[in-house]
């Protein structure tokens, strides 16, 4: 990794550090609230999802889109980096800035379920739900990398936010969740595993395609 790429990553993380800290703080409060209910999706759970979705939107809009709209990219692209390196630095920094709080809060959700009256059988449901938030982040980042049109961002965010509701309904309809959700142990049946791994893999593919498309564009600025 070149010095310039490393500095670009550190710079982005430095600019986003308070969002990361705030999200982890807010998410931990949400995890604590989750422990107060025996319901799989309670006020704490909704707050957890909102916290992660807000982080997602701020990371992409603040760290990628605004930078380009305000022509800061012109300044950054004078650094000795190629298009590919610039895009890679942007994706890595953004993925760390989102991924770290997401990972910490995912562990907090697991802990909240294990330590509360929420049946452990809902662990696969929550894992898949957190996987969907990751997928949503990948899609929004891919869109943010490739367009500065407000319409595309607003559309992606609106569809993403609404989809969370439909995805929760879908999860409650998954046979293994229906069968084992309220049980005392987590059952990782093939249906929920395929769904979870599939959504996360699809997210990674969308992000890679988005990053490659951006890096290959003839007119970078």
């Amino acid at each position: 990794m070149s010095t310039a790429v490393r500095h670009l990553i550190v710079k982005d993380l430095s600019l986003m550090r308070w969002w990361m800290v705030g999200t982890i703080g807010g998410g931990l409060v949400a995890a604590w609230l989750m422990t107060l209910s025996a319901q799989p999706i309670s006020a704490g759970g909704v707050l957890m999802l909102c916290t992660l979705i807000i982080l997602n939107i701020f990371m992409v809009m603040g760290g990628v889109v605004t930078e380009r709209k305000e022509h800061v990219t012109l300044f950054l692209f004078t650094f000795p980096v190629s298009r590919r390196q610039y895009v890679a630095a942007k994706v890595v920094a953004n993925a760390i800035a989102f991924g770290l709080p997401w990972l910490v809060l995912s562990l907090a959700v697991v802990a909240a379920i294990r330590l509360s009256a929420i049946p452990d059988g809902y662990l696969p449901l929550w894992t898949s739900l957190l996987g969907f938030v990751f997928f949503y982040y990948c899609v929004l980042l891919a869109v943010g990398l490739n367009t500065e049109a407000n319409g595309w961002h607003a559309t992606t965010i609106t569809i993403g936010n609404i989809s969370v509701n439909f995805f929760i309904m879908l999860l409650f309809g998954v046979p293994s969740v229906q069968r084992f959700g309220s049980g005392p142990t987590a059952v990782w049946a093939p249906d929920i595993l395929i769904l979870t791994v599939g959504e996360m893999a699809l997210g990674v593919i969308v992000l890679v395609v988005g990053a490659v498309t951006r890096a290959r564009r003839a007119d970078f600025i």
């Binding site: 070149s2 010095t3 310039a4 500095h7 710079k11 600019l15 305000e70 022509h71 800061v72 012109l74 300044f75 692209f77 004078t78 650094f79 000795p80 980096v81 190629s82 298009r83 390196q85 003839a218 007119d219 970078f220 600025i221």
Partner: protein
């Protein structure tokens, strides 16, 4: 033959409503080239192609001996770029930006950077969003100049600056080119700035280079000759005739290839030469662009 700092050969770039056509330019070490042209002439696109930000459809672009955009990362170590629409992080201070750039560029000259902070009357700890436009431009230039790049590519850097700030910026640029290994490509609407610091001029109009010359020699070729033409006399054709404007007996002839022989021809035709004026770059710029547009329309 010295290797040019940059060369563009047969470069073309097509957009929906605009195209750069067969663009060829070169700059030798130690030279300052002014890229002059009206809005939409293709100046910014040309500079962005040089910086690897925009990829040409065809043609060869070489900067510091390397092909662009293939070698963009290596080339940008020695090239500094500033444009009037470039912005820094508004929430961060100048000192933060200086730390960032000094970490990336090992050529960063901290002592020179401090000198520039003082000379430009900037405050290291002031957030960029609280700076005036002139201060932001000077801060951006500072971040580039303190890297001591071999080539400076400046896209309208003095746009919107008050006369004092413009003077400060131009003085610093003139100091840069006292080092004969460093070169500047400077685009501007402000022909006074170009006339002051550039030793080469390239005129661009509608995506084409319509002139690329040594500044002093170029300015020296142009004249506006005012004649008193009696009835029945015919004005002899001047070499490099650009424009003729008649108002009664008075005729103003603009030429891009003035020779004293023209005055002798006028005298021979019974025409009195009232005066022969040198032209400013701005007058030449307007005359050149209008002449080429008329030629293309014809």
């Amino acid at each position: 033959m010295t290797e040019p700092v940059f060369s563009l050969s047969g470069v073309a770039k097509r957009y929906r409503y605009f195209q750069l056509t067969d663009l060829s330019l070169r700059l030798d070490p130690g030279q300052v080239m002014g890229l002059v042209g009206p809005n939409g002439a293709g100046k910014s696109t040309t500079l962005r192609i040089l910086m690897g930000m925009v990829q040409q459809d065809r043609g060869d672009v070489r900067v510091l001996g390397q092909s662009m955009p293939a070698a963009e990362a290596a080339v940008k170590r020695d090239v500094g770029y500033v444009s009037d629409d470039m912005r820094l992080y508004g929430s961060q201070t100048l000192a933060w930006h200086m730390r960032l750039v000094s970490g990336v560029h090992d050529t960063w000259d901290a002592a020179y950077a401090e000198q520039l902070v003082g000379r430009f009357l900037l405050h290291r700890d002031q957030p960029i969003r609280l700076m005036s436009h002139g201060e932001r431009v000077k801060a951006t230039l500072l971040l580039v100049l303190a890297r001591r790049p071999r080539l400076l590519v400046l896209d309208e850097p003095t746009t919107g600056l008050d006369p004092v700030a413009r003077h400060e910026v131009l003085t610093e640029l003139m100091a840069v080119v006292r080092d004969e290994t460093r070169s500047i490509l400077f685009s501007s609407h402000n022909t006074q700035d170009v006339e002051r610091i550039c030793d080469r001029i390239a005129f661009l109009d509608r995506g084409r280079v319509i002139e690329d010359s040594d500044t002093a020699a170029y300015l020296d070729r142009w004249r506006r000759v005012h004649l008193d033409v009696p009835p029945g006399a015919t004005v002899p054709r001047a070499d490099g005739l650009i424009d003729t404007v008649q108002d009664g007996r008075l005729v103003a002839v603009t030429t891009s290839a003035y020779a004293p022989a023209f005055e002798a021809s006028c005298a021979h035709a019974g025409i009195a030469v009232r005066d022969v004026q040198r032209m400013t770059l701005e007058e030449i710029f307007v005359a050149t662009v209008m002449h080429h547009r008329q030629e293309r329309a014809a």
